[in-house]
């Protein structure tokens, strides 16, 4: 894969692939359950302001998924070990969806180490009467309808497009399933794995960034996060219009601008 670097962690238990671009304050981007197929334009935009590191999580092009079992603590410790190995001391943590849950867990486990926390439509909580949409059970066309504010856009269609070559298409599909399966270790069955009991520990100023039309993790979850965070951390909610769950992709300029602004404060 283009631009990917490799790091060997814990004596080969994890063979981690990651992107690293840009300069400035260290920003770590944690991707969602859909994976990170490339150093995407939103990351390019952030790399103009920050030294962006974006690792692929175990199961997403990195080996060692099974070493994390289904244990959120093991995942969180793994992520901190990775930043230690990369020499990243005081990161701005940006996490999207599943990655947002991971970023929140990291900030709760080691609160003094996170400079700023930016949760983009994070997973990890459960709101009674409003469960996270079951994206694990969605077929590609449904996923597009749920994940994008405008499912008819070129962006949305390109999102599920498969390569024409049959074998390459099959490979893409296997990688997607593999990634979702790996994320499922920590997300399935879309309940709360205890994050609601740990969020009180977070100290970093936190931005909750949401697409107004998020049909996977509805924007109502922002209030729930705020409620659990605001005793210990400064919290800001920013909702982006005309955007769904993939807000960084769909409203790239507005979303990355909000991140840059929040970090500049």
């Amino acid at each position: 894969m283009n631009g990917l670097q490799t790091l060997n962690l814990r004596n080969g238990r994890f063979n981690v692939k990651y992107y690293r671009e840009g300069s400035g304050a260290p920003l770590v981007f944690l991707h969602g359950a859909g994976g990170l197929p490339a150093f995407t334009p939103d990351l390019e935009a952030l790399a103009k302001h920050f030294a962006v590191t974006a690792p692929l999580h175990p199961g997403f092009g990195t080996s060692g998924e099974e070493n994390l079992h289904e244990d959120v603590l093991a995942l969180t410790l793994y992520a901190w070990d990775l930043l230690d190995a990369l020499g990243i001391e005081q990161p701005i943590l940006v996490g999207h969806s599943f990655g947002g849950m991971l970023a929140a867990e990291m900030a709760a486990l080691d609160p003094r180490r996170v400079k700023k926390l930016i949760l983009v439509a994070p997973a990890g909580l459960y709101l009674e009467g409003c469960p996270t949409a079951d994206f694990f059970a969605m077929m590609p066309d449904q996923l597009v309808r749920a994940a994008f504010f405008d499912p008819g856009s070129q962006l949305a269609r390109a999102f599920v497009e498969l390569p024409e070559d049959k074998r390459m298409a099959e490979e893409v599909m296997i990688q997607r399933v593999r990634g979702l399966g790996a994320a499922g270790r920590f997300l399935w069955p879309l309940g709360d794995r205890g994050l609601n009991e740990r969020l009180y520990r977070v100290k970093a100023p936190t931005l909750l960034l949401w697409g107004e039309g998020d049909r996977i993790i509805p924007a109502a979850y922002a209030e729930k996060f705020r409620e659990l965070l605001e005793n210990s951390a400064e919290v800001k909610i920013e909702t982006i219009p005309q955007a769904g769950h993939l807000v960084l992709m769909e409203q790239m300029e507005a979303a990355t601008h909000a991140i840059v602004q929040f970090c500049a404060r």
Binding site: H69, E70, F136, A137, M138, R176, R185, W188, P189, G191
Partner: protein
């Protein structure tokens, strides 16, 4: 050759527009479609049918476990088997089975199977399925990626509980028990025969062969589809140098016998249609949760029996197509005998599960189908393999057994 009579226990009153207006028969089917009064009669009727199969001389009667499923009304197969243990006296009780990872702690399976084996005098087959993705991941919330590991650990605990004569401590990843002590213990020693129903996951073959368990493929799509899976299984047997004994393999086949080929269509066509177009109407997204199948199995191109791929060879088929493709073996006794012999030999199976209550069949047809098969087909096919191979995977009941009711009989 051993022939076992298999029940799914489908709900027979799914509406005519089910396929068009309902999302899925499994996982999120609204329970308002269920009528409890009908359910009362249905369970009793279905148990009667299984008891009838015992009287008709089948080697075993089979129950199985499904959850949130309108074509499989046995969330607890052990309740069904307990009832059958008392009301039957001859047939093996083939529980196919308990989805091990769904029992908490899985020691429950060792206990309940122990009870069933004692009550029945050693007639139990202990089925150990992983369970479908619909049942385990979606209906019961089990994490897909760890399901198989959880299953294997549960298996190890159960076998150890059955074979260790003293209490012991168990420290698994999923189950931790300071005092594992399974009372009662099964009649069959060291434990009842273990059958593993599989959907064609390639790791299962190795695992089953290493333990000398029976493997069965419970297919709804007959010989042609089954052949691919069973060929893979037998290739593995050869590779491992295991004995190519047909009794180590089982297969499920839909069967509908009537007086003649033409009468069979009249009797059964609409019930087959109900089965394939309503019962198997499963939403594709539930077929195969990400992480449920291993990467190796996906790469091997083995497909789930429900969902998108299966829909392509299921939806809207005519009677003739269902018959020509061998999904159902049907017709006069002579026709069924010939085709079934082909299937048994072609797949090299020693244990056949016959599905004779299909879809919406009323009890009169079920009894007719079963009786015709028992009288006109069973005697001939039973002879297959019998002189060449020894069946090491069937129960070994006590030769003298209690008679239910005798203790208080005058």
């Amino acid at each position: 050759m051993k022939i076992n009579w298999f029940h799914l226990m489908p709900y027979r009153w799914l509406p005519d527009d089910f396929r068009e207006h309902y999302h899925s028969v499994w996982v999120d089917i609204p329970s308002k479609l269920w009528d409890s009064e009908k359910g009362h009669y249905l369970y009793n009727e279905y148990l009667d049918e299984l008891e009838f199969a015992d009287k008709m001389g089948f080697d075993g009667i089979c129950v199985n476990e499904h959850h949130a499923n309108a074509y499989g009304l046995m969330p607890s197969p052990n309740i069904m088997a307990a009832s059958l243990a008392r009301r039957t006296s001859r047939a093996n009780l083939v529980v196919l089975g308990n989805s091990l990872s769904l029992y908490n702690p899985p020691l429950r399976v060792a206990e309940e199977f122990g009870m069933l084996d004692c009550i029945s005098g050693g007639r139990l087959v202990a089925g150990f399925p992983v369970g479908s993705s619909m049942d385990t991941n979606f209906a019961y919330g089990a994490v897909p990626a760890t399901l198989r590991e959880r299953y294997r650990e549960a298996h190890d605990l159960i076998i150890k509980a059955w074979t260790t004569p003293e209490p012991f401590a168990f420290n698994g990843r999923y189950t931790k028990i300071r005092y594992v002590n399974s009372w009662p213990r099964p009649v069959q020693k060291p434990h009842p025969p273990i059958w593993v129903p599989g959907g064609g996951s390639i790791e299962t073959w190795d695992w089953v062969l290493e333990r000398d368990y029976q493997y069965c493929y419970l297919s709804y799509f007959g010989y042609q589809h089954g052949k691919r899976v069973m060929d893979g299984f037998w290739e593995n047997v050869a590779k491992k140098g295991a004995e190519p004994n047909p009794y180590r393999a089982g297969f499920l086949q839909l069967i509908a016998v009537s007086e003649s080929d033409a009468q069979a269509e009249k009797d059964y066509a609409r019930h087959l249609d109900y089965f394939f177009n309503r019962c198997l109407h499963v939403y594709s997204g539930f077929a195969d949760a990400p992480g449920y199948r291993t990467e190796a199995t996906i790469r091997a191109g083995l497909q789930a029996q429900v969902g998108e791929a299966a829909d392509a060879f299921r939806v809207g088929l005519t009677w003739k197509e269902l018959v020509d493709r061998g999904y159902v073996i049907t017709g006069s006794p002579a026709t069924v005998r010939d085709r079934l012999t082909e299937v048994i030999k072609g797949l090299r199976i020693g244990q056949l599960m016959v599905l004779q209550m299909i879809g919406s069949m009323p009890k009169e047809l079920v009894l007719k189908n079963t009786e015709l098969f028992a009288k006109e087909v069973l005697p001939a096919v039973k002879k297959i393999w019998a002189s060449e191979w020894k069946d090491r995977w069937s129960p070994r009941p006590l030769s003298e057994r209690a008679v239910p009711g005798a203790a208080v009989a005058k």
